[in-house]
Amino acid sequence: MRQAAEGQEQDTSKPVTSIGRRWGMVVDLDRCTGCQACVVACHAENNIALNLEDVVLQQRAMNWIRIERYWEGEYPNVKARFLPMFCQHCNNAPCEPVCPVYATYHNREGLNVQVYNRCIGTRYCANNCPYHARFFNFWERDLEEEQREYLNPNVTVRTKGIMEKCTFCVQRIRKSEWERRHADEELQDGDVAPACVQACPTDTLVFGNLEDENSRVAKLAENKRHYRVLENLGTDTNVIYLKKVDPHASETAPAHAGAAANSGRNSA
């Protein structure tokens, strides 16, 4: 556990022991159009259960990545803002210390890992995640023969009673790793792209090694527009957002998104 004792200095920018690799993502909000390509790409890559109508109505739909939509202002000066949200792979993850069986832990590459076969389904982690990035399998899958055909053979089909969340497509990381190793080469910047990153038409999402200062993601993370979501919680996320640019922000918009009149809309 990395909670520093009071008054003690600690460098939270690095995982426990660095191995020169810390996976991270930059989300440029000025590019995102809300097109949902990333959402479907994630479903296709990660064998996520189908969100059938009654699943949605029971508020148990699973989306490892979702696009939150915030209303801002009043008609006709109304605006809608899109915020892609997924597991932030916190270096100081609130979900980790509460797991009684260590099914979720932080690995040395900066990934917040969920070990499915260790998970016993207490759902403590989901309750403790400030980003609502975790989803619980309330049902066993009931797939038709046809629907098994497109399952990704590199990803477990989770069973009932297991917690799941964005993995940064760890299967793709591992694959690129051993493909490079097979050719006796080092992993290069740009080798690994999670499904959402690869699909995104606007290049909103950029993935890479934050510890490699020459990587695209590390350079973008230095952009003057950078910030982290819920930064003041001290979760020290590996996902860095770049602020949306709105030339008229100071004229029409309130200081923060979601005018009070509409803030209930997202928290029904």
Binding site: V113, Q171, R174, H182
Partner: protein, 179 residues
């Protein structure tokens, strides 16, 4: 004895019983002969007697995650000529089994082999990485070449994998094997 204690005893019994069964299964898997297959394929005939390389059939083992089971078409590369009509094939068992293979080819019907090494769904195992690191097929699979019916020789459970990874200084992060 109170009802509560009774329940605990029964619970304990169930657990013990379960463990015994699991132990028995593990023991059976490791010790007994391998499972019966739809075609009585003999590794001993192919490897020991005819000196065919593992990779001739399991073509992906050096480059892919799966070693792969050969396609019927590949079996037929040889068995077009090595069959009952060939005077050198005399053993009636062999003739009969090769005939089954030919039937699959002619009917274009895949063969459903019975898996011998079953890995749980949450395990990622990459054959190529292990071959690249210099391991022999036999390290995990035993001397398949001499087996008539393939059986599992190593437990291949998590302890087995982690132990070997530790000995060889291979990574032991959960995400290396768990997916």
């Amino acid at each position: 004895m109170t009802a509560g204690a009774m329940r605990i005893t029964i619970g304990a019994l169930v657990v013990v019983f379960g463990l015994v069964i699991m132990g028995a299964v593990a023991w059976l898997t490791l010790s007994a002969e391998g499972p019966e297959q739809p075609i009585e394929f003999m590794h001993s005939v192919h490897v020991e007697q005819n000196d065919i390389d593992c990779q001739f059939c399991h073509r992906n083992v050096e480059t892919g995650a799966e070693a792969t089971i050969p396609a019927v078409e590949q079996c037929m590369i040889c068995h077009k000529v090595i069959n009952g009509e060939n005077p050198k094939v005399t053993n009636p068992l062999h003739v009969a089994e090769i005939a089954k293979l030919q039937a699959h080819w002619e009917n274009r019907e895949p063969i459903d082999w019975v898996r011998v090494h079953v890995m749980p769904d949450h395990v990622r195992f990459v054959h190529a990485a292990h071959i690249k690191a210099g391991f022999d097929c036999a390290t995990c699979h035993g001397d398949v070449g001499s087996m008539e019916r393939v059986k599992q020789v190593r437990s291949l459970n998590m302890g087995d994998c982690v132990g070997c990874h530790r000995e060889n200084n291979a990574p032991t992060d959960c995400t290396i094997c768990h997916r």
